[in-house]
Symmetry: C2
Subunit: 302 residues, 2 copies
């Protein structure tokens, strides 16, 4: 099995099927496709839908880049190889309606090599949900689907990856999680228990679960009415999303450090975001309730 080839085939095909499902549920918006080449090697296919009926700005981006591993990235990855190959699919969807949650998924395959000799191979990724207003039933729905996908491959996976997501999708300077979390797995090597083939099968299951999960969440929320105050709150929550992506997100940093295409990397940023100074919310308000739920360690399945 040639993972370099097979992962790219899968991620490209997943991109097409997810774009088709999101367009169908949106009912109005269409993805614009932009192919790009990276100077140092490789490139990508950026698919962005803007100003749809449900989706305000959403990107489903395939990339496959390779070349000399920049020293700063090698250090961050703690590898000594000189070259890398990375392919994956990155998704961020910002909806119009504050009752539809923001979603993010990234699935990727990574290889490092020196003098053409492959040294390390791993899969990585994660998925997390950022409701502007936390709905506990929908958080449970989301986590239950992720647990089912994990459990099919190994019972220890969901608890471990859920905890890693709580740690990773965390805005330290705010002491807030980005949303209700999800699962995160940075580097899944072949192990005694799981060979790379098993890992790839897990990535496939997770990738294929994205469209059914998110189109459901679009469908049940997209027709809810909302107030200008709820829209303002959405813009503030998007500001937090920008803070996370620019200050902490490793994928963004990797993209900037490896001279990726800027508009593809920063498609994760919302079309509009807001930072009013020190906004205050009343005790008992829905905004305060959401803030109280942006914490690590919540068991959403209870």
């Amino acid at each position: 099995m040639n993972y370099k080839v097979d992962t790219q085939i899968f991620f490209k095909s997943l991109q097409k099927s997810i774009c088709a499902a999101l367009e169908a549920e949106d009912g109005l918006g269409k993805f614009e496709i932009h192919e790009w080449k990276r100077l140092g090697g490789g490139g990508g296919i950026t698919a962005v839908l803007q100003d749809g009926a449900v989706i305000e700005k959403g990107g489903v981006n395939f990339s496959s880049v390779e070349g000399v591993l920049p020293a700063v990235v090698a250090k961050a990855l703690r590898v000594e190889s000189t070259h890398f190959f990375a392919t994956g699919l990155s998704i961020v969807i910002h909806p119009n309606n504050p009752h539809v949650p923001i979603i993010h998924m990234n699935v990727r395959y990574f290889e490092t090599s020196t003098n053409g000799r492959s040294e390390e191979q791993w899969f990585g990724g994660g998925i997390d949900l950022t409701p502007h207003y936390v709905d506990k039933e929908q958080a449970k729905f989301f986590h239950q689907h992720l647990k089912n996908t994990c459990d099919a491959r190994g019972k220890e996976m969901y608890p471990e990856f859920k905890k890693l997501a709580d740690e990773y999708f965390y805005i330290k300077h705010r002491d807030e999680t980005r949303g209700v979390g999800g699962i995160f797995f940075d580097r899944m090597y072949a192990s005694q228990k799981y060979n790379l083939h098993n890992r790839f099968e897990f990535i496939k299951s997770l990738g294929n679960s994205f469209a059914p999960i998110y189109t459901h969440l679009m469908s049940v929320n997209k027709n809810k009415s909302y107030t200008p105050e709820e829209k303002n709150w959405q813009l503030i929550r998007r500001g937090r999303y920008v803070e996370f992506n620019l200050v902490y997100d490793k994928g963004t940093k990797f993209g900037l450090d490896t001279d990726g295409r800027i508009e593809s990397i920063l498609m994760s940023l919302p079309k509009m975001a807001s930072w009013p100074y020190d906004p205050q919310f009343e005790e008992g308000s829905k905004e305060k309730e959401t803030l109280s739920l942006l914490k690590k360690g919540i068991d959403w399945l209870k």
Copy 2:
């Protein structure tokens, strides 16, 4: 002379006079004052004006913090001291009208010490202008004032500090300067030529020049009419401002790393910003012209 005391007195007094001048030119908005304490030592006085006639969101923040120097900060500063004292004034003004430029100034005094023994003392700071649309005459006005302030203390200062500003106020991943630059001086120690007293006098002159410079730029631009397209462009330029502050700005990083008050540190972010996907502008448009001027090394005084 006790710099710890005298710098604080100056920065607090400068905060008051700048707030008064900005309120007078705005004509509607009033600064709200918020005093805060830092758990590890010190605190600050945050002054924010929101929803004025000219200023949409502007902060003029005094802070005076001290305590144990976090290892990550000591490393960034390349000092071995265990304690620090830092006081300064930080200003960022985001106007409503896209024809009024964004402005930033920071002036500060820093000391490091170990076991109560003062080790290093320096002044630092910078000021830069970010017009949404570059107006060469106004860029010249701005730089001429900075040059005059510098020249009064030493003819070598303006060229050196102007170059440092071009390097510092630079968004690497966009290959764009933040705006038309200004001056930047990170660590001005006492030297053979300039003692700390001279340095402080320079900081005072620069601080006192802020209000006349910016109220002039408010005054000549605030009544210009603008189109929805110009407003959109302003929101995009603000997005770049957010990118700079969250990805590169050392003051923001210092604040986050030393557990400063988040809303005071992030007062630099605009009330509203926008990231449409890959916006395109016509050749010959004012937007393209501005983009062509966001480059290092332009001599605005010509």
